[in-house]
Symmetry: C2
Subunit: 223 residues, 2 copies
Amino acid sequence: MIKLAIIDVDGTITDSSRRISESAITAIRMAQENGKIISLVSGNVIPVMYALQIYIGIRHEVFAENGGVMYYQNKIEKFFDREKTERFLDHVAGMSSVRGIFTNVWRYSSMAFEMEKADIEKVTAESVRWNLDLTDSSFSWHVLNKGQNKGFALRKLMEIHDLRGEEILVVGDSKNDISMFTEGVNRATMRNGDSELKNLSDYVSSKGDGESIPDIFHKFSLI
Amino acid sequence: MIKLAIIDVDGTITDSSRRISESAITAIRMAQENGKIISLVSGNVIPVMYALQIYIGIRHEVFAENGGVMYYQNKIEKFFDREKTERFLDHVAGMSSVRGIFTNVWRYSSMAFEMEKADIEKVTAESVRWNLDLTDSSFSWHVLNKGQNKGFALRKLMEIHDLRGEEILVVGDSKNDISMFTEGVNRATMRNGDSELKNLSDYVSSKGDGESIPDIFHKFSLI
């Protein structure tokens, strides 16, 4: 029986313009009423996840910065820091079109940025040299510490709530969700999901974006 | 004809636990589709308003810190600063049960805090001596610079969009919304609204919390 669902935000409970789905909100609240633990994980910043937790009414941990920072009950816990990622951003900004995005002021561990396509190869090579990870959320690029990813957040939740893989459902739509689509957990994506994720999934909803959440929750008996 | 609605957040588009109303989200999106300008104003911090703007899909300015800070298109504009309010918070924390809340780290102009009932009179007297304003959002106390209130945000919006009072709708539920319930604008509250606000309102919805938004928007022909 599934006891916990960990869900990506942008493109998963929202549409491609990041507008949240009213029916995803309803489904999340219903699942919680049924005693399920719902967690959100995003590349976005902690105060944004804090806001989503309040306004959706999430009762448990939420993760920002691709799993690097956790918020629960007025406490922010950071598992990685921003010293190295910030230095990397300064470095590549000096040699490419890379420009940090304004929400970096609220970041604790990773840095987000935009860049021109022509620079992707060069900046990726630099990240390898620096032993850092790059990820493209399709909303912006992120530079992350090694081991900082959504799979890390998944393992943290399993540890906190003492759960096994078969008791977990992961839901995501894009490549930066792959690290939590691990063996042994229940995996779901939706119509607009990345093809790699579709291949890894136990269930692909025929609905798109946030409209898929009620369907996926029914499929896995969370509601 | 109403061209712009400025709406409080907590208790107005949410329930008393701050969970956002799905039907308020739908109504706001519909009003925007109809060409109406929708703005939100709250005592909360800018990144929270940034998040609401993204996930609801608000297309225009939103205000945090009771009107002291504005967010629009990746730019934060602050109209007041935190130098004096922060000193005040330190001062009263040393002489009472006042404790700042953790989201103050994201504040640009005002400070939020909690205190025991017994200290309200003493702390209010200090705020008068310091020439600062105190307000109780019913979620926390706020210390604000003189002139920093939701009425300030209303006037800023009227200036930006070159609108007259009769083209504006204000919606709120509590005492800290009174500064925008000014003469000449259309004013609405709901079943759970403060009695003072009800007296000032042109329309009191029989619905409560966020469920009132579709009703109010119909009443004023926004949808």
